[in-house]
Symmetry: C2
Subunit: 206 residues, 2 copies
Amino acid sequence: MSSEDRDHDPLARLAALLGRLPGIGEKSALRLALALVRAEPEYVAKLVEAIAGVQTRLRLCEICCDLSSSEICSRCKDVRRDHKLICVVAQPQDRMALERTGIYRGLYHVLHGVLDPRANVGPADIQVGALLKRLSPAHGSEPVQEIIVATSPNLEGDSTALYLARLIAPLGVRVTRIASGVAVGGELEYADVTTLHRALEERRVL
Amino acid sequence: MSSEDRDHDPLARLAALLGRLPGIGEKSALRLALALVRAEPEYVAKLVEAIAGVQTRLRLCEICCDLSSSEICSRCKDVRRDHKLICVVAQPQDRMALERTGIYRGLYHVLHGVLDPRANVGPADIQVGALLKRLSPAHGSEPVQEIIVATSPNLEGDSTALYLARLIAPLGVRVTRIASGVAVGGELEYADVTTLHRALEERRVL
């Protein structure tokens, strides 16, 4: 796209803005911009309203730090859940992925990041303090018994899990890590070396 | 995403709306929605403004029917271009792709579609009438000498080219077709610069 296009053309301007979103390349941005030009005005109005409002309507749940439209999110409020169990995830989308499985009935804690010394992300930059607060007996009637660390199985995710284990285990709370290995239903043949390494290391007695 | 999420959560609502755009699946929509939650408020304001305004700020150029922010687009106004040559494309993004090659210096005509009997798209549904108007001597001082049909080389694109050739050749205007250097069955929009270059150079009389 020429600079002349970008400066004067509302379409090119929209495409340039869309192209700054993650995973949207130049061609995708243009395709989306053209789709918006041709979309039903009613849809465009709804989308504009949703984008304009999403930052003001969302806050972090005061307990689990997940994105929420109220002070306390619906999961933390849910008395049918097991409040003795907290699954720690890096991002809201990880919580959503786990929730979709339908098998986990405990609570969550969203860190909003993982420890990454190379990117200067330390414990104070993610929601570690809020997690510790949930472990103090004064907080609620049911003390937390187990923290499941479900960060991704990569260098940063593993370091974060180890850090939390060292921090929390001394408080008498069990800290566990989700298993990693060859994906269920996946082909061993196509698993990468690191995954195979991990799958072998974490083998268990049948 | 559960229906509970979708109904009450501004994030899920935004993701659902974004997921209706072409090429945006459920996971991409969620990733984009989360990016918008975390984006700089200034960026979000600009994006909202650009989306809200793009439909009202754009119109069809009165000559070539390309999307334009003024009555006559900058290309049709450009006296340095060869006004005796018109390249006919299906969509604005095809015009942009050709323009990026930098080798074509004639004018364009955007049909906004191709003939497709199976989808009930006939000549009256695309900008064929506006193209014919440009061929009448009354329109301008320089009569058009050649129409290059650069629709995609697939069934609909080829039929449209043939239709235009039969319609226009009797008027004494040469009608050519870009060469199928563009991969057969492929989309013009995604062709690389070299392929488009070749396709323009090897155009032939229909």
